[in-house]
Subunit: 160 residues, 2 copies
Amino acid sequence: MKLTTKGRYAVTAMLDLTLNDKAKPVSLADISARQDISLSYLEQLFSKLRKSNLVVSMRGPGGGYRLKGEAKDIVVADIIAAVDENIDVTRCAGRNACNSGKPCLSHDLWMDLSEQIRVFLADISLEDMKERAASVKHKCIDSDQVGQLIDGNLLNRKES
Amino acid sequence: MKLTTKGRYAVTAMLDLTLNDKAKPVSLADISARQDISLSYLEQLFSKLRKSNLVVSMRGPGGGYRLKGEAKDIVVADIIAAVDENIDVTRCAGRNACNSGKPCLSHDLWMDLSEQIRVFLADISLEDMKERAASVKHKCIDSDQVGQLIDGNLLNRKES
DNA sequence: CAATAACCTAGTATTTTAGTCAAGTATTAT
DNA sequence: ATAATACTTGACTAAAATACTAGGTTATTG
């Protein structure tokens, strides 16, 4: 399990899809505009998401993407795995470093840790994040709050 | 919190340090040989680990590195944070995409998720991994098994 | 002093990231 | 049917990160 900005783009886009899932499917152009991600990059990501059976596409005017199945059944781990396609170059797969036993050992431990993270992310669904979205909505800064924030928290933050 | 092979190298090296913490400090040359990581790359990583107060160094013959403090007090999250130094380019930090409220929303959610992962990794210490090491030790290859492996798996590996 | 090992700087090949561009194909409103 | 819309595919690319090399300097031990 790798955790990069690429995965973040994918999760963000999928979350956008979840939040805007109305009667019509959501076009990539819309997501591109809302999330400020380049359309072509989204196309690449959604190509992989579709091949991993996380979304379904609808062509033609009014077309776009829609979640395949329900938001509660799609988890963050699936989304990241779909776009990352890590070939898992475990350099310790029987070659040179596996003589003393220790390289193999730490390799095992890392794989174990990586698996724990995967399990952790496999427990967070888009539905969970959608619900969470409601509760953090007030966190967003609108122009009215900017003045207070400058006087308040933000300036005090950097001092630590 | 980013999760890349770079972080894995660092965790592996730190775990090597933990497992070989005897009377003498551990030289990077030793870690390089055991873990099959280039010496200069280790130097770069340990420079960061030292600056983050995770290890102490001793120069000269018989010198090397040693954990700063106890293995139970050094957690995986610290190690990854030390070598990753992500400048956190939150593109949504008040600039262009934060108008409709939604980009900010998904940004918050990702930060939240990222923080959850950090907390998760902040709970796994080198001591924990060391203890775990004992239980997975039997999985490793010792010199007695090499012959069988050469005749078996290894020769068949490269053909794909 | 000579060997050792940390420390530092700079460069570099490779891979990944995050796109662009172009030429398609499929769908549907009209 | 035809045009417009929207997804598909592939090739290509600039920039960054990764993993490593080379060549030194500095500190410490014997």
